[in-house]
Protein backbone atom coordinates (compact mmCIF):
# COMPACT_ATOMS: atom_id res chain seq x y z
CA UNK A 1 0.00 0.00 0.00
CA UNK A 2 2.77 2.40 0.93
CA UNK A 3 4.68 1.52 -2.20
CA UNK A 4 1.60 2.15 -4.31
CA UNK A 5 1.10 5.53 -2.68
CA UNK A 6 4.70 6.42 -3.31
CA UNK A 7 4.55 5.47 -6.99
CA UNK A 8 1.22 7.23 -7.63
CA UNK A 9 1.50 10.37 -5.52
CA UNK A 10 5.26 10.68 -5.20
CA UNK A 11 6.23 12.14 -8.59
CA UNK A 12 3.58 14.88 -8.72
CA UNK A 13 3.94 15.87 -5.06
CA UNK A 14 7.75 15.93 -5.35
CA UNK A 15 7.40 18.11 -8.45
CA UNK A 16 5.10 20.50 -6.60
CA UNK A 17 7.38 20.59 -3.58
CA UNK A 18 10.27 21.74 -5.76
CA UNK A 19 8.53 23.97 -8.31
CA UNK A 20 5.63 25.29 -6.27
CA UNK A 21 6.22 25.17 -2.51
CA UNK A 22 9.89 26.23 -2.58
CA UNK A 23 9.39 29.12 -5.06
CA UNK A 24 6.41 30.48 -3.12
CA UNK A 25 8.36 30.16 0.14
CA UNK A 26 11.18 32.06 -1.54
CA UNK A 27 8.85 34.94 -2.39
CA UNK A 28 7.70 34.93 1.22
CA UNK A 29 11.32 35.24 2.35
CA UNK A 30 12.32 37.84 -0.26
CA UNK A 31 9.48 40.09 0.88
CA UNK A 32 11.34 40.63 4.16
CA UNK A 33 14.85 40.93 2.77
CA UNK A 34 16.84 43.86 1.42
CA UNK A 35 17.46 44.83 -2.15
CA UNK A 36 21.09 44.65 -3.30
CA UNK A 37 22.84 47.70 -4.72
CA UNK A 38 22.74 46.33 -8.27
CA UNK A 39 19.45 44.46 -7.98
CA UNK A 40 19.45 41.00 -6.46
CA UNK A 41 18.63 40.23 -2.85
CA UNK A 42 20.74 40.72 0.27
CA UNK A 43 19.85 38.45 3.22
CA UNK A 44 19.24 41.23 5.73
CA UNK A 45 15.85 41.19 7.46
CA UNK A 46 13.76 44.34 7.00
CA UNK A 47 10.18 45.58 7.20
CA UNK A 48 10.93 48.45 4.82
CA UNK A 49 9.13 46.78 1.93
CA UNK A 50 5.94 46.57 3.94
CA UNK A 51 6.26 50.24 4.96
CA UNK A 52 6.86 51.16 1.34
CA UNK A 53 3.74 49.33 0.19
CA UNK A 54 1.77 51.60 2.52
CA UNK A 55 3.22 54.68 0.82
CA UNK A 56 0.34 56.67 -0.76
CA UNK A 57 1.90 56.20 -4.19
CA UNK A 58 1.64 52.41 -3.99
CA UNK A 59 -1.41 52.30 -1.78
CA UNK A 60 -3.24 54.11 -4.57
CA UNK A 61 -2.27 51.35 -7.02
CA UNK A 62 -3.56 48.70 -4.61
CA UNK A 63 -6.83 50.53 -4.01
CA UNK A 64 -7.25 51.18 -7.73
CA UNK A 65 -6.72 47.45 -8.43
CA UNK A 66 -9.30 46.53 -5.80
CA UNK A 67 -11.80 49.00 -7.26
CA UNK A 68 -11.29 47.90 -10.87
CA UNK A 69 -11.55 44.21 -9.92
CA UNK A 70 -14.68 44.90 -7.83
CA UNK A 71 -16.40 46.82 -10.62
CA UNK A 72 -15.50 44.16 -13.20
CA UNK A 73 -16.86 41.48 -10.87
CA UNK A 74 -20.11 43.36 -10.25
CA UNK A 75 -20.68 44.01 -13.96
CA UNK A 76 -19.90 40.38 -14.80
CA UNK A 77 -22.40 39.29 -12.15
CA UNK A 78 -25.14 41.57 -13.48
CA UNK A 79 -24.56 40.40 -17.05
CA UNK A 80 -23.79 36.79 -16.20
CA UNK A 81 -26.60 35.91 -13.78
CA UNK A 82 -29.54 36.38 -16.19
CA UNK A 83 -27.61 34.56 -18.92
CA UNK A 84 -26.80 31.65 -16.59
CA UNK A 85 -30.42 31.59 -15.41
CA UNK A 86 -31.76 31.29 -18.93
CA UNK A 87 -29.25 28.63 -19.95
CA UNK A 88 -30.10 26.55 -16.87
CA UNK A 89 -33.83 26.67 -17.69
CA UNK A 90 -33.44 25.84 -21.39
CA UNK A 91 -34.67 22.44 -22.62
CA UNK A 92 -31.95 19.87 -21.67
CA UNK A 93 -31.07 19.27 -25.33
CA UNK A 94 -30.03 22.92 -25.71
CA UNK A 95 -28.37 23.40 -22.36
CA UNK A 96 -24.94 21.84 -22.94
CA UNK A 97 -24.31 23.32 -26.42
CA UNK A 98 -25.21 26.85 -25.28
CA UNK A 99 -23.16 26.45 -22.10
CA UNK A 100 -20.13 25.29 -24.09
CA UNK A 101 -20.61 28.25 -26.42
CA UNK A 102 -20.47 30.71 -23.51
CA UNK A 103 -17.49 29.05 -21.83
CA UNK A 104 -15.46 28.31 -24.96
CA UNK A 105 -13.81 31.78 -25.24
CA UNK A 106 -12.31 31.31 -21.78
CA UNK A 107 -10.18 28.45 -23.10
CA UNK A 108 -8.61 30.64 -25.77
CA UNK A 109 -5.69 33.02 -25.33
CA UNK A 110 -6.44 36.02 -23.11
CA UNK A 111 -3.65 37.85 -24.89
CA UNK A 112 -5.40 37.48 -28.25
CA UNK A 113 -8.85 38.25 -26.88
CA UNK A 114 -7.52 41.39 -25.23
CA UNK A 115 -5.85 42.35 -28.50
CA UNK A 116 -9.26 42.15 -30.21
CA UNK A 117 -10.38 45.10 -28.07
CA UNK A 118 -7.39 47.16 -29.18
CA UNK A 119 -8.53 46.56 -32.76
CA UNK A 120 -11.98 47.82 -31.85
CA UNK A 121 -11.13 50.68 -29.49
CA UNK A 122 -7.91 52.28 -30.72
CA UNK A 123 -7.75 55.68 -32.42
CA UNK A 124 -7.74 54.03 -35.84
CA UNK A 125 -10.07 51.30 -34.63
CA UNK A 126 -13.46 50.05 -35.65
CA UNK A 127 -15.52 52.36 -33.43
CA UNK A 128 -13.55 55.53 -34.20
CA UNK A 129 -13.50 54.80 -37.94
CA UNK A 130 -17.19 53.98 -37.90
CA UNK A 131 -18.16 57.15 -36.04
CA UNK A 132 -15.94 59.25 -38.28
CA UNK A 133 -17.40 57.68 -41.41
CA UNK A 134 -20.88 58.45 -40.12
CA UNK A 135 -19.80 62.06 -39.64
CA UNK A 136 -20.43 61.95 -35.89
CA UNK A 137 -16.90 62.86 -34.78
CA UNK A 138 -14.03 64.94 -36.19
CA UNK A 139 -11.37 63.85 -33.73
CA UNK A 140 -10.92 60.21 -32.77
CA UNK A 141 -12.20 59.43 -29.28
CA UNK A 142 -9.69 58.19 -26.69
CA UNK A 143 -11.35 54.88 -25.87
CA UNK A 144 -8.21 53.05 -24.77
CA UNK A 145 -5.81 53.62 -21.88
CA UNK A 146 -8.39 54.37 -19.25
CA UNK A 147 -10.15 52.64 -16.37
CA UNK A 148 -13.19 51.82 -18.48
CA UNK A 149 -11.11 49.93 -21.05
CA UNK A 150 -9.49 47.83 -18.29
CA UNK A 151 -12.85 46.97 -16.76
CA UNK A 152 -14.29 46.13 -20.17
CA UNK A 153 -11.35 43.85 -20.91
CA UNK A 154 -11.63 42.08 -17.55
CA UNK A 155 -15.38 41.52 -17.89
CA UNK A 156 -14.77 40.22 -21.40
CA UNK A 157 -11.96 37.95 -20.25
CA UNK A 158 -13.64 36.39 -17.24
CA UNK A 159 -17.40 36.50 -17.87
CA UNK A 160 -17.46 32.75 -18.65
CA UNK A 161 -16.05 32.10 -15.16
CA UNK A 162 -19.04 33.94 -13.68
CA UNK A 163 -21.62 32.13 -15.80
CA UNK A 164 -20.34 28.60 -15.17
CA UNK A 165 -20.76 28.27 -11.36
CA UNK A 166 -24.03 30.26 -11.34
CA UNK A 167 -25.37 27.99 -14.05
CA UNK A 168 -24.39 24.96 -11.98
CA UNK A 169 -26.15 26.29 -8.87
CA UNK A 170 -29.36 27.15 -10.76
CA UNK A 171 -29.41 23.83 -12.57
CA UNK A 172 -29.21 21.99 -9.26
CA UNK A 173 -32.14 24.02 -7.96
CA UNK A 174 -35.33 22.04 -7.60
CA UNK A 175 -37.93 23.64 -9.93
CA UNK A 176 -40.65 22.49 -7.50
CA UNK A 177 -39.45 25.13 -5.03
CA UNK A 178 -40.18 27.93 -7.47
CA UNK A 179 -43.52 26.43 -8.34
CA UNK A 180 -44.38 26.09 -4.68
CA UNK A 181 -43.53 29.74 -4.09
CA UNK A 182 -45.68 30.75 -7.06
CA UNK A 183 -48.55 28.55 -5.83
CA UNK A 184 -48.34 30.19 -2.43
CA UNK A 185 -48.81 33.56 -4.09
CA UNK A 186 -45.24 34.73 -4.57
CA UNK A 187 -44.89 36.84 -7.70
CA UNK A 188 -41.98 36.15 -10.05
CA UNK A 189 -39.82 38.85 -8.46
CA UNK A 190 -40.63 37.75 -4.95
CA UNK A 191 -39.99 34.12 -5.82
CA UNK A 192 -36.67 35.14 -7.27
CA UNK A 193 -35.68 37.25 -4.27
CA UNK A 194 -36.87 34.89 -1.56
CA UNK A 195 -36.21 31.49 -3.13
CA UNK A 196 -33.93 31.44 -6.19
CA UNK A 197 -31.42 34.10 -5.16
CA UNK A 198 -30.63 32.78 -1.65
CA UNK A 199 -30.34 29.22 -2.93
CA UNK A 200 -27.96 30.20 -5.71
CA UNK A 201 -25.77 32.28 -3.39
CA UNK A 202 -22.97 29.67 -3.35
CA UNK A 203 -22.81 29.85 -7.16
CA UNK A 204 -22.75 33.64 -7.03
CA UNK A 205 -19.96 33.59 -4.44
CA UNK A 206 -17.91 31.14 -6.52
CA UNK A 207 -18.44 33.16 -9.70
CA UNK A 208 -17.44 36.40 -7.97
CA UNK A 209 -14.25 34.79 -6.64
CA UNK A 210 -13.42 33.31 -10.06
CA UNK A 211 -13.70 36.77 -11.66
CA UNK A 212 -12.31 38.90 -8.84
CA UNK A 213 -9.17 36.85 -8.18
CA UNK A 214 -7.69 36.83 -11.71
CA UNK A 215 -8.82 40.44 -12.23
CA UNK A 216 -7.07 41.73 -9.12
CA UNK A 217 -3.67 40.39 -10.09
CA UNK A 218 -4.11 40.84 -13.82
CA UNK A 219 -1.21 41.91 -15.95
CA UNK A 220 -2.20 41.58 -19.62
CA UNK A 221 -5.47 43.51 -19.61
CA UNK A 222 -4.25 46.65 -17.79
CA UNK A 223 -0.98 46.44 -19.70
CA UNK A 224 -2.60 46.38 -23.15
CA UNK A 225 -5.83 48.30 -22.54
CA UNK A 226 -4.86 50.47 -19.57
CA UNK A 227 -1.72 51.98 -21.07
CA UNK A 228 0.04 52.97 -17.84
CA UNK A 229 3.24 51.24 -16.83
CA UNK A 230 2.07 50.39 -13.34
CA UNK A 231 -1.65 51.00 -13.39
CA UNK A 232 -2.61 47.89 -11.43
CA UNK A 233 -0.74 45.83 -8.87
CA UNK A 234 0.09 43.11 -11.43
CA UNK A 235 1.84 45.70 -13.60
CA UNK A 236 3.59 47.12 -10.56
CA UNK A 237 4.92 43.69 -9.60
CA UNK A 238 6.07 43.10 -13.16
CA UNK A 239 7.92 46.42 -13.32
CA UNK A 240 9.55 45.83 -9.92
CA UNK A 241 10.90 42.52 -11.17
CA UNK A 242 11.82 43.27 -14.77
CA UNK A 243 12.49 47.03 -14.80
CA UNK A 244 13.27 48.49 -11.38
CA UNK A 245 14.89 45.20 -10.37
CA UNK A 246 13.66 45.64 -6.81
CA UNK A 247 12.77 42.01 -6.19
CA UNK A 248 12.11 42.27 -2.42
CA UNK A 249 9.53 45.01 -2.95
CA UNK A 250 7.95 43.07 -5.85
CA UNK A 251 7.85 40.02 -3.57
CA UNK A 252 6.14 42.05 -0.81
CA UNK A 253 3.50 43.26 -3.28
CA UNK A 254 2.93 39.64 -4.35
CA UNK A 255 2.60 38.62 -0.73
CA UNK A 256 -0.04 41.32 -0.18
CA UNK A 257 -1.85 40.07 -3.28
CA UNK A 258 -1.84 36.48 -1.99
CA UNK A 259 -2.95 37.74 1.43
CA UNK A 260 -5.93 39.60 -0.05
CA UNK A 261 -6.97 36.56 -2.06
CA UNK A 262 -6.53 34.22 0.88
CA UNK A 263 -8.73 36.49 3.01
CA UNK A 264 -11.34 36.44 0.27
CA UNK A 265 -11.36 32.65 0.01
CA UNK A 266 -11.70 32.39 3.78
CA UNK A 267 -14.62 34.80 3.66
CA UNK A 268 -16.27 32.69 0.97
CA UNK A 269 -15.78 29.50 2.97
CA UNK A 270 -17.21 31.23 6.04
CA UNK A 271 -20.21 32.50 4.07
CA UNK A 272 -20.96 29.05 2.68
CA UNK A 273 -20.51 27.47 6.11
CA UNK A 274 -22.93 29.95 7.67
CA UNK A 275 -25.47 29.32 4.96
CA UNK A 276 -25.21 25.59 5.45
CA UNK A 277 -25.69 25.97 9.20
CA UNK A 278 -28.74 28.17 8.64
CA UNK A 279 -30.15 25.64 6.22
CA UNK A 280 -29.70 22.94 8.87
CA UNK A 281 -31.34 25.07 11.54
CA UNK A 282 -34.32 25.86 9.36
Amino acid sequence: MLRRRLILLGPALAWWAVFLAVPVALVLAYAFLTRGTFGGVVPTFTLDNLARAADPLYLRVLLFSLRVAAIATLVALLIGYPAAYLIATLPPRWRTPVLILTVLPFWTSLLIRTYAWIVILNREGLINRGLAAAGLIDQPLELLNNEFAIELGLVYGYLPLMILPIYASIERLNPDLREASADLGGGPLRTFRRVTLPLTLPGIAAGCIFVFVPSLGNFIVPDLLGGGLSSMVGNLIQSQFLRARDWPFGAMLSLILIGLMGALLFFQAWLLGRQRREALDA
Binding site: P11, L26, T108, L110, R113, I118, E124, L159
Partner: protein
Amino acid sequence: MPDRPSRSIRSWGRWVLGLELALVLAFLYLPIAVVAALSFNASGLPTAWTGFSLEWYAAVARNEALLGAFGNTLIVGAATTIIATILGTLLALGLERAVRSTFLDTFVYVPMIIPDIVFAIALLSFYNLVFTSLLGLQLGLWTVILSHVTFGIAFVAVVVRTRLRHFDRSIEEASLDLGANELRTFRNVTLPAIAPGVVAGALIAFTMSFDEFIIAFFTKGTSETFPTQVYSMIRFGVTPEVNAIATVVLGLSITLVLVSQRLRGSLE
Protein backbone atom coordinates in the same frame (compact mmCIF):
# COMPACT_ATOMS: atom_id res chain seq x y z
CA MET B 1 -55.82 33.76 -8.29
CA PRO B 2 -54.81 37.37 -8.84
CA ASP B 3 -51.29 36.99 -7.43
CA ARG B 4 -50.26 34.11 -9.63
CA PRO B 5 -48.06 35.43 -12.46
CA SER B 6 -49.87 35.16 -15.74
CA ARG B 7 -48.41 33.16 -18.58
CA SER B 8 -47.87 36.32 -20.60
CA ILE B 9 -45.67 37.90 -17.94
CA ARG B 10 -43.62 34.73 -17.77
CA SER B 11 -43.10 34.46 -21.50
CA TRP B 12 -42.33 38.18 -21.63
CA GLY B 13 -39.66 37.54 -19.03
CA ARG B 14 -38.21 34.69 -21.08
CA TRP B 15 -37.99 37.00 -24.09
CA VAL B 16 -36.03 39.57 -22.11
CA LEU B 17 -33.71 36.86 -20.83
CA GLY B 18 -33.32 35.46 -24.33
CA LEU B 19 -32.36 38.86 -25.65
CA GLU B 20 -29.85 39.26 -22.81
CA LEU B 21 -28.26 35.90 -23.59
CA ALA B 22 -28.05 36.80 -27.29
CA LEU B 23 -26.29 40.04 -26.33
CA VAL B 24 -23.89 38.16 -24.06
CA LEU B 25 -23.00 35.77 -26.87
CA ALA B 26 -22.58 38.70 -29.27
CA PHE B 27 -20.34 40.42 -26.71
CA LEU B 28 -18.22 37.27 -26.38
CA TYR B 29 -17.91 36.50 -30.09
CA LEU B 30 -18.13 39.80 -32.01
CA PRO B 31 -14.63 41.06 -31.07
CA ILE B 32 -13.15 37.73 -32.18
CA ALA B 33 -15.22 37.82 -35.37
CA VAL B 34 -14.03 41.36 -36.14
CA VAL B 35 -10.38 40.30 -35.89
CA ALA B 36 -11.00 37.20 -38.02
CA ALA B 37 -12.82 39.24 -40.67
CA LEU B 38 -10.07 41.88 -40.79
CA SER B 39 -7.44 39.19 -41.23
CA PHE B 40 -9.00 38.37 -44.61
CA ASN B 41 -9.37 42.01 -45.68
CA ALA B 42 -6.95 42.91 -48.48
CA SER B 43 -6.33 46.42 -47.10
CA GLY B 44 -5.90 45.02 -43.59
CA LEU B 45 -7.62 48.08 -42.18
CA PRO B 46 -10.95 48.38 -40.41
CA THR B 47 -11.89 51.28 -42.72
CA ALA B 48 -13.32 49.45 -45.67
CA TRP B 49 -13.60 45.98 -47.11
CA THR B 50 -11.33 45.94 -50.16
CA GLY B 51 -11.67 42.31 -51.03
CA PHE B 52 -10.83 38.86 -49.72
CA SER B 53 -7.15 38.11 -49.42
CA LEU B 54 -4.85 35.59 -47.81
CA GLU B 55 -1.86 37.88 -48.11
CA TRP B 56 -1.62 38.48 -44.33
CA TYR B 57 -1.47 34.76 -43.74
CA ALA B 58 1.29 34.55 -46.34
CA ALA B 59 3.12 37.34 -44.50
CA VAL B 60 2.84 35.37 -41.24
CA ALA B 61 4.22 32.29 -42.99
CA ARG B 62 7.26 34.34 -44.08
CA ASN B 63 7.94 35.80 -40.62
CA GLU B 64 11.04 33.88 -39.48
CA ALA B 65 11.06 35.11 -35.89
CA LEU B 66 7.41 34.19 -35.49
CA LEU B 67 7.83 30.73 -37.01
CA GLY B 68 10.81 30.10 -34.76
CA ALA B 69 8.75 31.10 -31.74
CA PHE B 70 5.91 28.89 -32.93
CA GLY B 71 8.31 25.95 -33.14
CA ASN B 72 9.51 26.70 -29.62
CA THR B 73 5.96 26.76 -28.33
CA LEU B 74 5.27 23.37 -29.93
CA ILE B 75 8.37 21.96 -28.22
CA VAL B 76 7.34 23.43 -24.86
CA GLY B 77 3.74 22.28 -25.34
CA ALA B 78 4.71 18.74 -26.29
CA ALA B 79 7.21 18.29 -23.45
CA THR B 80 4.80 19.85 -20.94
CA THR B 81 1.97 17.64 -22.11
CA ILE B 82 3.96 14.41 -21.86
CA ILE B 83 5.35 15.08 -18.37
CA ALA B 84 2.17 16.66 -16.97
CA THR B 85 -0.03 13.88 -18.35
CA ILE B 86 2.06 11.13 -16.75
CA LEU B 87 2.41 12.86 -13.37
CA GLY B 88 -1.18 14.15 -13.40
CA THR B 89 -2.66 10.75 -14.25
CA LEU B 90 -0.64 9.03 -11.51
CA LEU B 91 -1.74 11.73 -9.07
CA ALA B 92 -5.38 11.28 -10.03
CA LEU B 93 -5.10 7.53 -9.51
CA GLY B 94 -3.40 8.09 -6.17
CA LEU B 95 -6.01 10.57 -4.94
CA GLU B 96 -8.85 8.34 -6.05
CA ARG B 97 -7.39 4.99 -4.96
CA ALA B 98 -4.53 5.27 -2.49
CA VAL B 99 -5.28 8.10 -0.06
CA ARG B 100 -8.21 9.92 1.41
CA SER B 101 -7.09 13.43 2.21
CA THR B 102 -9.11 16.63 2.14
CA PHE B 103 -5.88 18.60 2.26
CA LEU B 104 -4.56 17.00 -0.93
CA ASP B 105 -7.97 17.27 -2.60
CA THR B 106 -7.86 21.03 -2.02
CA PHE B 107 -4.17 21.40 -2.72
CA VAL B 108 -4.64 20.13 -6.29
CA TYR B 109 -6.43 23.39 -7.07
CA VAL B 110 -3.65 25.64 -5.73
CA PRO B 111 -1.62 25.71 -8.97
CA MET B 112 -4.82 26.64 -10.80
CA ILE B 113 -5.88 29.55 -8.59
CA ILE B 114 -2.53 31.06 -7.64
CA PRO B 115 -2.30 34.42 -9.50
CA ASP B 116 -0.09 33.81 -12.52
CA ILE B 117 1.98 36.96 -11.96
CA VAL B 118 2.85 35.71 -8.45
CA PHE B 119 3.61 32.25 -9.80
CA ALA B 120 5.78 33.85 -12.49
CA ILE B 121 7.94 35.87 -10.09
CA ALA B 122 8.15 32.96 -7.65
CA LEU B 123 9.51 30.69 -10.38
CA LEU B 124 11.84 33.38 -11.70
CA SER B 125 13.25 33.93 -8.18
CA PHE B 126 13.70 30.20 -7.71
CA TYR B 127 15.33 29.57 -11.11
CA ASN B 128 17.53 32.58 -10.68
CA LEU B 129 18.76 31.39 -7.28
CA VAL B 130 19.17 27.69 -8.05
CA PHE B 131 19.90 27.49 -11.76
CA THR B 132 21.64 30.78 -12.52
CA SER B 133 23.48 31.59 -9.29
CA LEU B 134 24.26 28.11 -7.97
CA LEU B 135 24.56 26.03 -11.14
CA GLY B 136 25.50 28.68 -13.68
CA LEU B 137 22.79 27.63 -16.15
CA GLN B 138 20.92 29.91 -18.55
CA LEU B 139 17.12 30.14 -18.40
CA GLY B 140 15.44 29.06 -21.63
CA LEU B 141 12.73 26.86 -23.06
CA TRP B 142 13.54 24.17 -20.53
CA THR B 143 12.63 26.47 -17.62
CA VAL B 144 9.37 27.35 -19.37
CA ILE B 145 8.66 23.60 -19.61
CA LEU B 146 9.34 23.13 -15.87
CA SER B 147 6.95 26.01 -15.14
CA HIS B 148 4.17 24.80 -17.41
CA VAL B 149 4.33 21.24 -16.08
CA THR B 150 3.69 22.63 -12.59
CA PHE B 151 0.19 23.86 -13.43
CA GLY B 152 -0.38 21.26 -16.19
CA ILE B 153 -0.30 18.45 -13.59
CA ALA B 154 -3.26 20.05 -11.79
CA PHE B 155 -5.42 20.30 -14.91
CA VAL B 156 -4.68 16.72 -15.99
CA ALA B 157 -5.31 15.37 -12.48
CA VAL B 158 -8.69 17.11 -12.18
CA VAL B 159 -9.88 15.88 -15.60
CA VAL B 160 -8.67 12.30 -15.10
CA ARG B 161 -10.25 12.16 -11.64
CA THR B 162 -13.71 12.89 -13.03
CA ARG B 163 -13.23 9.99 -15.41
CA LEU B 164 -12.08 7.69 -12.61
CA ARG B 165 -15.14 8.48 -10.52
CA HIS B 166 -17.43 7.27 -13.30
CA PHE B 167 -15.47 4.09 -13.65
CA ASP B 168 -16.84 0.75 -12.53
CA ARG B 169 -14.19 -0.72 -10.27
CA SER B 170 -15.62 -4.23 -10.37
CA ILE B 171 -13.97 -4.88 -13.76
CA GLU B 172 -10.62 -4.22 -12.09
CA GLU B 173 -11.47 -6.66 -9.33
CA ALA B 174 -12.54 -9.19 -11.92
CA SER B 175 -9.19 -8.86 -13.64
CA LEU B 176 -7.34 -9.36 -10.34
CA ASP B 177 -9.57 -12.34 -9.47
CA LEU B 178 -8.73 -13.90 -12.81
CA GLY B 179 -5.08 -13.85 -11.85
CA ALA B 180 -3.71 -10.71 -13.54
CA ASN B 181 -1.27 -8.79 -11.37
CA GLU B 182 -1.71 -5.12 -10.52
CA LEU B 183 0.49 -3.83 -13.32
CA ARG B 184 -1.22 -5.96 -15.93
CA THR B 185 -4.63 -4.97 -14.66
CA PHE B 186 -3.64 -1.34 -14.89
CA ARG B 187 -2.33 -1.70 -18.44
CA ASN B 188 -5.11 -3.87 -19.84
CA VAL B 189 -8.14 -2.76 -17.85
CA THR B 190 -7.77 0.56 -16.05
CA LEU B 191 -5.80 2.49 -18.64
CA PRO B 192 -8.05 1.71 -21.63
CA ALA B 193 -11.08 2.63 -19.54
CA ILE B 194 -9.74 6.01 -18.44
CA ALA B 195 -7.96 6.74 -21.76
CA PRO B 196 -10.50 9.33 -22.99
CA GLY B 197 -10.05 11.26 -19.75
CA VAL B 198 -6.27 11.08 -20.06
CA VAL B 199 -6.35 12.33 -23.64
CA ALA B 200 -8.81 15.11 -22.70
CA GLY B 201 -6.49 16.14 -19.86
CA ALA B 202 -3.48 16.06 -22.17
CA LEU B 203 -5.25 18.32 -24.67
CA ILE B 204 -6.17 20.79 -21.94
CA ALA B 205 -2.57 20.80 -20.67
CA PHE B 206 -1.34 21.45 -24.21
CA THR B 207 -3.84 24.25 -24.78
CA MET B 208 -2.92 25.92 -21.49
CA SER B 209 0.79 25.73 -22.33
CA PHE B 210 0.21 26.89 -25.91
CA ASP B 211 -1.66 30.03 -24.74
CA GLU B 212 0.29 30.78 -21.58
CA PHE B 213 2.00 34.16 -21.65
CA ILE B 214 3.05 35.66 -18.30
CA ILE B 215 4.92 32.74 -16.77
CA ALA B 216 6.74 32.16 -20.07
CA PHE B 217 7.50 35.90 -20.27
CA PHE B 218 9.30 35.75 -16.91
CA THR B 219 11.03 32.39 -17.20
CA LYS B 220 12.01 32.18 -20.89
CA GLY B 221 15.47 33.73 -20.59
CA THR B 222 16.42 34.95 -24.06
CA SER B 223 14.25 32.41 -25.92
CA GLU B 224 10.86 33.39 -27.28
CA THR B 225 7.63 31.43 -27.19
CA PHE B 226 4.78 32.15 -29.56
CA PRO B 227 2.75 34.20 -27.03
CA THR B 228 5.77 36.29 -25.95
CA GLN B 229 6.61 36.97 -29.61
CA VAL B 230 3.00 37.91 -30.38
CA TYR B 231 2.99 40.13 -27.29
CA SER B 232 5.91 42.17 -28.57
CA MET B 233 4.18 42.48 -31.95
CA ILE B 234 0.99 43.69 -30.24
CA ARG B 235 2.95 46.22 -28.18
CA PHE B 236 4.29 47.53 -31.46
CA GLY B 237 0.77 48.12 -32.74
CA VAL B 238 -2.25 46.72 -34.53
CA THR B 239 -1.17 45.10 -37.79
CA PRO B 240 -3.04 42.92 -40.28
CA GLU B 241 -0.40 40.30 -39.64
CA VAL B 242 -1.32 40.06 -35.97
CA ASN B 243 -4.98 39.71 -36.99
CA ALA B 244 -4.05 36.66 -39.06
CA ILE B 245 -2.03 35.19 -36.18
CA ALA B 246 -4.89 35.83 -33.77
CA THR B 247 -7.33 34.05 -36.05
CA VAL B 248 -5.10 31.00 -36.38
CA VAL B 249 -4.50 30.82 -32.61
CA LEU B 250 -8.18 31.16 -31.74
CA GLY B 251 -9.17 28.57 -34.35
CA LEU B 252 -6.56 26.16 -33.05
CA SER B 253 -7.45 26.43 -29.37
CA ILE B 254 -11.18 26.28 -30.05
CA THR B 255 -10.66 23.06 -32.03
CA LEU B 256 -8.50 21.52 -29.29
CA VAL B 257 -10.99 22.39 -26.57
CA LEU B 258 -13.95 21.05 -28.55
CA VAL B 259 -12.13 17.76 -29.17
CA SER B 260 -11.27 17.59 -25.47
CA GLN B 261 -14.92 18.30 -24.54
CA ARG B 262 -16.07 15.55 -26.87
CA LEU B 263 -13.70 13.04 -25.31
CA ARG B 264 -14.77 14.01 -21.84
CA GLY B 265 -18.41 13.95 -22.87
CA SER B 266 -18.07 10.39 -24.15
CA LEU B 267 -18.07 9.14 -20.58
CA GLU B 268 -21.56 10.35 -19.82
